[in-house]
Structure formats: structure tokens, C-alpha cells
């Protein structure tokens, strides 16, 4: 059930270059699943006007707290980064369909790029709780923008790639993927569209789930801002309400 709630910021800090970790408390946390997202109103103002979609990175249902991890890009995320503990946070959510955690059986590969890494964290936690072994391949621009490496490492084997080679493997996540065994039964990935495409093409025979990004208006399926052409019977899919997670092969290039 989608709700709009004035949640309370529990804490916020900058954990890497321009990467913020914000934890907020509220009752809609109870409905959240990994891979879903929230639509945040950065300020009670007309400027920025629209909500911003941000993935759910960690859920603590007992505490009614969830965490999001985001990079400051423009006006909206910059304003968001000013929030302090105790401030109100206008959240619409949870939105969209998350990762199907019960699809993975024994071992899962999680591939994230940049701000596509956050939703994989809660996914990894839940898979691990279900007894699924997870391998994480995370791509970043540079050493100073790497985040949550130790958090992922605490759950399973974690590889990092940076574009400039200042940490882990130099290059893209695909460079790492080419060098590791494909003994997993299911893969999950979130990141820029070209990365998703590359991952999809590497594992044509496997079950995979990909989380997409699109510029959004409403976030709930009403405005047709976030459509992608699809390969299935539907002509198109909406990232916000049909996704953001789709089985591999559904979203057309």
C-alpha cells in the first residue's frame, strides 16, 4: 500500500565523496521490500518542485527505520543533504516492485554500478538470511566514491572495480565478471542501462533481475514519464510501477 508520510530523519552523514547515508523513521517502513524505492520531496518548496526517486538500501522493520544512500547530483539531492537528525522527511512509498528474493536458491550474484549499488545491500542481507550465498561485484568511479564495501564484505565475497583504477580492479564491473566463476543460479543487478545490458548479455542462460532508472514524474504509474519499450506482449513498461526491477530480457535495449 502506497502512503505519504512525514518521516523523521534519524541521522545523516556523508560516507564517501558526495555520497550520503540517510536513515529515517516512520510507519511505512513496515511495507518496504528490497529493490523498491521511495519518492522523496526534498523541501517544502516549489523549488525543487518534483519528488526524487531513491532506492531503499536497508530496512530495520523493528525500529521502523530505513536507510537510503544517494549521491548529490543537482538541486534536489543537494537540498536533501542538508537534512539533519530530527528534521521531517516527506516520503511517498514504498513504490514499485522489488527484487524477488525467493528466486535465488543456493548462490546469487549481485552486480551494482555507482548509485545502483544501494538497493543491492538490503537484497544481500535478506538473501543471506535465507541462506543464499551472495557474491557482490560493485563498480564505482574512483576510490573516493566507493561506499559500503565493508558492509557487503561482511555478508559475502565482494569485488570492487573503479573506472580510474584507484581501488580494486581497474575498469568496469564487466572486467571483474569475466574473471569470476558463473556458478550462481540467479543474478541481480542495478546500475546504468549500458551496464545492465552488458550483464544481461554475459549470462544469457541464467535467471536474472535488473533494476532500471528513468526520469520520473508521479512515481506511481499515472504520468507515462518513465516508460521503456518492452520485449514482451506489453508494448511498453513503466519503470515506476511495473519496475523498477524487471526479469532479464523484458526491457528492450
Amino acid at each position: 500500500m502506497i502512503r505519504k508520510e512525514l518521516m523523521t530523519v534519524v541521522r545523516q552523514r556523508e560516507i564517501a565523496y558526495r555520497i550520503f547515508e540517510l536513515t529515517a523513521r516512520g510507519s511505512i517502513v513496515g511495507d518496504m521490500e528490497p529493490g523498491q524505492f521511495v519518492h522523496i520531496r526534498p523541501a517544502d518548496s516549489f523549488e525543487p518542485l518534483l519528488r526524487r526517486p531513491i532506492s531503499i538500501a536497508a530496512i530495520e522493520p523493528e525500529k521502523k527505520e530505513f536507510t537510503m544512500l544517494y549521491r548529490t547530483e543537482g538541486r534536489g539531492t543537494e537540498v536533501l543533504a542538508e537534512k539533519k537528525s530530527g528534521d521531517a522527511l516527506d516520503v511517498l512509498g514504498p513504490l514499485g516492485n522489488g527484487f524477488p528474493v525467493h528466486e535465488a536458491k543456493r548462490k546469487a550474484l549481485l552486480v551494482g554500478g555507482g548509485i545502483g549499488v544501494p538497493p543491492l545491500y538490503e537484497l544481500a542481507r535478506q538473501l543471506s538470511t535465507l541462506g543464499v550465498e551472495t557474491v557482490h561485484v560493485l563498480g564505482f568511479d574512483s576510490a573516493d566514491s566507493v561506499f559500503y564495501e565493508s558492509e557487503f564484505s561482511a555478508i559475502g565475497k565482494t569485488y570492487v572495480a573503479t573506472v580510474d583504477g584507484t581501488r580494486g580492479t581497474a575498469g568496469f564491473v564487466t572486467h571483474v565478471l569475466e574473471g569470476i566463476p558463473d556458478d550462481f543460479d540467479t543474478y541481480y543487478s542495478c546500475g546504468p542501462a549500458p551496464m545492465l545490458k552488458a550483464v544481461e548479455q554475459l549470462y544469457p542462460g541464467k535467471t536474472g533481475y535488473l533494476s532500471y532508472e528513468q526520469r520520473m514524474g508521479c512515481g506511481i504509474g499515472a504520468c507515462f514519464a518513465c516508460v521503456c519499450k518492452s520485449n514482451d506482449a506489453r508494448d511498453y513498461v513503466k519503470v515506476c510501477s511495473d519496475g523498477p526491477v524487471f526479469p532479464a530480457g523484458v526491457v528492450a535495449g
Binding site: 502506497i2 520531496r41 526520469r215 514524474g217 506511481i220 499515472a222 504520468c223 516508460v227
Partner: protein, 311 residues
């Protein structure tokens, strides 16, 4: 609730608040959030004869106190709207206003003729003002003769009253309003979006794949309000006003300028509960202003004409 009620051609509105076309889909998503029977009416997404995918993405971009969209009239086409979307909306006690678009005059006529006979469609809204399609759309709304001819043709076939949605991208909106009035329009809805553009600062590339898009939201409210005010002076047609409405004060402003009812577009994206919230707040606002009913406020800005003396 009768102090909120408004009676317009074809429309018995419980209240003067309704979602604007294109900002509410066909109601399904919002039906999960609240009871749609609360609404004064629903303006559904533009319907065309054939299904349309619309423009490539990105289709939206934010601007200062506003947003640009270039959806491009994506919709499942007349057939599916009739068999899937409108029947879904029949469960609610709310009049539907069907936004009709097309590339040529024949498209408008065919869609209007058919959709106006759907059981819950109480009015047709002729979209002659969409700035985001290559053919039709705004071209019909910027020339008074074309606008009049189209209105006449659609009036001839429509089973319900016809409202014409005006474009703000014109030199003289009054002229267009008068033309469609002469063409037999039963009412006006205004305004559609203002044509605008946003660029990526780094590359200079237009952010919208369609390059230009329609500007909506609080930024355009002063323009919308001025146009409603001007048109109110010169036609007797009922007006459903819109452009940047997001608070009860905005509703009051549009009524004051001369609107009989109002529509809410962009604000649905910021607060999906905005329509029921506005409806709930309206009686309190009327009390504050000492108004018995919504119609007491309609056009009151025009009272200042006579007493104001200027140098």
C-alpha cells in the same frame, strides 16, 4: 456539501476540483490511494484513435517552480479506453471528462463521436493545445478559424457537451476563445502547457528527447490566471481553470479570476492526495472568506474594475 456543488453543461460537480488530463492517467493508480467518488470530475488522459507510444524518454525535466513534459499523448487508443479504462471508472460516482486528441480533424471527430457515448463520459474536452506532438495538437489551437471549424465538427457528432482546451501559446487567447464559442463550444478549459525547453549545462543538449516540452506547475500560474481573467471578460462560456494549482489559495484565485471550476495537474505528482485535500479544505476557506458557496467567489476580481481609477 451543496455549498461546493457546481453545475456546468453536462456536469453535475459535487465540488469544483478535478484532476487535469494527463496527470491522472485513467484513474487506476489513484484509485489505490483514495476513493475517486470524492472528486468533482476526472479528466482522463488524452485518447487518440490508435494507440500511441508517445515520445522517446527523457520525457520530463524540472525547471524553477515548474516542470516540462513531452509525453506525446501516449495512450492505449480509443478501443482499449472504451473496453478497459472507462468501464473500470464506472464503479465510481464521478463524471468523466474525456480528453480527445488527434492528428487530423477526422481523428477528433471519430474519437469524440464514439467516446461521447460511453456511459460515464459526461463531457468531451477537445485537446487542441498539446505542444508535444508533430501533427495536430497545438496547430488546431493557435488559429481561430481552424479551432472554430473543429469545434463545430465535433459538436455535430458529440452526444455530450464539448469543452475546448485552450493553448496559452498564442498572441490573443480571447480571440481563440471567441472563435470556439462561435463554433458552439459548451465550455472552455484552460490552460494547457507553455512551450519551453531545458538544456544540459555540460553538453548544451536538450534534456527532453523531444527537445521542447510543455511547462506546467506553479511557475505558470500568473500566466494562467491572467488568461482566465481576460477570457472571462469576453465570453459567457463556463471555464475550468488550471495552471499551477497546488493549494486552497490557488483554487480561490482561479475562481476569483472567473473560473467556474478548476483542474489540478502537476501537483498530483508532488502530492498524490492533493485533490481530496483541496476538497476537504474548501469549506473552511469559504468560511474564512465569508462566502456561502463556491459560486459566490467566481469572478469577484472583476468587481474591482469599476471602482479602480488610474492615472
Amino acid at each position: 456539501m451543496s455549498r461546493l456543488a457546481v453545475k456546468l453543461p453536462g456536469l453535475d460537480l459535487k465540488n469544483p476540483i478535478m484532476p487535469a488530463s494527463g496527470c491522472f492517467g485513467f484513474g487506476r493508480e489513484f484509485a489505490n490511494l483514495y476513493d475517486l467518488s470524492q472528486l468533482g470530475a476526472i479528466m482522463i488522459k488524452a485518447t487518440t484513435r490508435e494507440a500511441r507510444f508517445g515520445n522517446p524518454t527523457p520525457r520530463v525535466a524540472e525547471t524553477a517552480s515548474g516542470m516540462l513534459n513531452a509525453i506525446g499523448l501516449q495512450n492505449p487508443g480509443l478501443e482499449k479506453v472504451l473496453t478497459e479504462e472507462l468501464p473500470f471508472l464506472e464503479q465510481f460516482d464521478v463524471p468523466i471528462i474525456a480528453n480527445v486528441a488527434g492528428s487530423q480533424m477526422e481523428d477528433y471527430i471519430e474519437v469524440a463521436e464514439v467516446i461521447s457515448r460511453a456511459p460515464n463520459v459526461r463531457a468531451v474536452e477537445l485537446n487542441i493545445s498539446c505542444p508535444n506532438v508533430k501533427e495536430g495538437g497545438i496547430a488546431f489551437g493557435t488559429d481561430p478559424d481552424t479551432a472554430k471549424a473543429l469545434t463545430e465538427a465535433v459538436k455535430a457528432v458529440s452526444a455530450v457537451p464539448v469543452y475546448v482546451k485552450l493553448s496559452p501559446n498564442v498572441t490573443d487567447i480571447v480571440q481563440i476563445a471567441e472563435a470556439v464559442e462561435a463554433g458552439g463550444a459548451d465550455g472552455l478549459t484552460m490552460i494547457n502547457t507553455l512551450l519551453g525547453m531545458r538544456l544540459d549545462h555540460k553538453t548544451g543538449k536538450p534534456i527532453l528527447a523531444n527537445r521542447t516540452g510543455g511547462l506546467s506547475g506553479p511557475a505558470v500560474k500568473p500566466v494562467a490566471l491572467r488568461m482566465v481573467y481576460e477570457v472571462r471578460k469576453r465570453t459567457v462560456l463556463p471555464i475550468i481553470g488550471m495552471g499551477g494549482i497546488s493549494a486552497p489559495e490557488d483554487v480561490i484565485d482561479f475562481l476569483s479570476a472567473g473560473a467556474d471550476a478548476v483542474a489540478v495537474g502537476t501537483a498530483n505528482f508532488i502530492n498524490p492526495f492533493i485533490c481530496p485535500e483541496l476538497i476537504q479544505n474548501l469549506p473552511g476557506k469559504l468560511d474564512e472568506l465569508g462566502a456561502e458557496s463556491v459560486s459566490d467567489l467566481t469572478g469577484r476580481s472583476h468587481l474591482y474594475e469599476l471602482t479602480d481609477h488610474r492615472a
